[in-house]
């Protein structure tokens, strides 16, 4: 119970950071969705029973706060969580590199899901230079910040489960 409470607090903290702090920063500092790396982390290092409820809760919170179609965040997080579950066994690279790589793929994947939602209604509105710029900025910041997030998640989750990679 305490574990899930801890997950919930972490999720709410990340949601608050990305809805109440990041939007006030300059355009170039517009970050990606922090909950995608969390989904990647839970996917790689936590069992299904831990990750699934946490990410459903996180997705629902984001869906409620955003103007995006309901369910789009839940879908994104669950796809990322389920898709990367066993990838660590197939790919023989170190933890933080794997995490960073999958975080970038996760962010791109989330954007793809958003594109699927946006394109049918307004195709010309999505395929623009500005859209490309938004995605590139997100990837750039993911590459820069993913190792730090990996360290942060490691630190946060050390006392709440097994150590990553062990």
């Amino acid at each position: 119970m305490i574990r899930y409470l801890f997950y919930l607090i972490l999720v709410i903290l990340l949601v608050i950071i990305q809805t109440s702090i990041i939007p006030y920063m300059p355009e170039i500092l517009k970050f990606y969705d922090f909950l995608v790396p969390l989904a990647v982390y839970l996917s790689l290092y936590k069992p299904l029973s831990h990750g699934l409820p946490v990410l459903i809760a996180a997705g629902l919170i984001m869906d409620m706060l955003s103007a995006a179609p309901i369910g789009i965040y839940v879908t994104s997080y669950l796809w990322v969580f389920l898709a990367f579950r066993r990838v660590a066994r197939w790919v023989g690279i170190k933890d933080h590199l794997l995490f960073s790589m999958l975080a970038v793929i996760g962010v791109l994947f989330e954007n793809l899901i958003f594109a699927i939602a946006v394109i049918p209604a307004n195709p010309q509105g999505f395929f623009t230079l500005q859209s490309l710029q938004i995605i590139l900025i997100q990837v750039f910041w993911t590459v820069i910040t993913a190792p730090f997030l990996w360290l942060g998640f490691n630190y946060c989750f050390t006392d709440h489960g097994r150590l990553p990679g062990k």
Partner: protein, 279 residues
């Protein structure tokens, strides 16, 4: 002949008298011998005395300055804290002043308008770059309803789409799901303002090609959508494209509201009733 006691007393008296004579003589007239002796003594002793004296003085100075420095350091620390507090206070005053100016503008706009409005503070924004919404700190308990229009003195901001008792989600007019029935103020040419979500621009769609729309024209709400009251400023025309074929012209507008700097907004509590508008 004389007792021992008498001899001692007489000797003491003679010595005192002699001393008196010698001291009187020395006071009146310094001899070269005494001057030389004094000079020699000064020559050898004074430097040592000076050194000792300086040492003592130095020690005293160090001692007193040490305490002075400690005091000064403490005072410095205290002054730094006071300065930091004063700076923070100035910053707060500046912020309050700016907020005051914004609120005054809102109040002025509110009092000039016939509409009943509720001021609200923006507490969060949509984290997704693909959708544009914000969360305000007023909800059902403050009279806000689903669909309530949200405005600022500059122009239309958006409308409430979700709400709880204390908060509401506002979809901005630049969001791709937003539509506002509007018209050109100068020519009354009608159209619909649609959000683009990419950049802070909107499209003014369904304006007939034959209608006169020019760059810098002001777009206002028509009030015909039953959501936004008539006559609120939406934006100004930034681009007009009239193709050779087609019924409509392509018009791009820049909204008046600065969505990046929104901190306070006004929620219209008595928007026009759709039945009233239609009748």
């Amino acid at each position: 002949m004389f007792s021992k006691k008498t001899m001692v007393a007489a000797g003491a008296i003679i010595l005192i008298v002699l001393n008196g004579v010698v001291f009187s003589f020395n006071y009146i007239r310094k001899t070269s011998f005494t001057s030389a002796a004094a000079e020699t003594a000064l020559f050898f002793v004074s430097p040592v005395q000076g050194a000792v004296s300086s040492g003592i003085e130095f020690s005293r100075e160090v001692w007193t300055h040490y305490f002075y420095l400690v005091d000064a350091a403490q005072e410095n620390e205290e002054l730094r804290r006071k300065l930091a507090r004063a700076r923070q206070k100035i910053h707060e005053c500046n912020e309050t002043s700016k907020e005051n100016r914004r609120l005054k503008e809102l109040v002025r706009f509110n009092s000039e308008s016939d509409l009943s409005m509720q001021a609200a503070r923006v507490v969060a924004r949509d984290s997704s770059p693909w959708y544009r919404s914000l969360i305000i700190d007023k909800g059902r308990a403050h009279g806000v309803e689903n669909g309530s229009p949200v405005v600022v003195p500059d122009g239309v901001v958006g409308r409430v789409t979700e709400l709880s008792s204390g908060h509401a989600k506002v979809v901005l007019i630049i969001d791709r799901n937003s539509a506002v029935d509007a018209m050109v103020q100068r020519t009354r040419a009608r159209g619909v303002v649609l959000g683009l979500s990419s950049g802070d621009r909107c499209r003014f769609d369904f304006a007939l090609r034959k209608q006169d729309v020019r760059v810098e024209d002001i777009i206002i709400t028509s009030g015909l959508d039953g959501i936004y009251p008539k006559g609120l400023r939406v934006g100004r025309v930034s681009k007009v494209i009239r193709r050779n074929s087609g019924v409509f012209q392509e018009v791009e507008i820049i909204p008046y509201a600065d969505f990046h700097k929104l901190e306070e907004v006004l929620v219209v509590l008595n928007p026009p009733n759709i039945d009233d508008v239609l009748n």
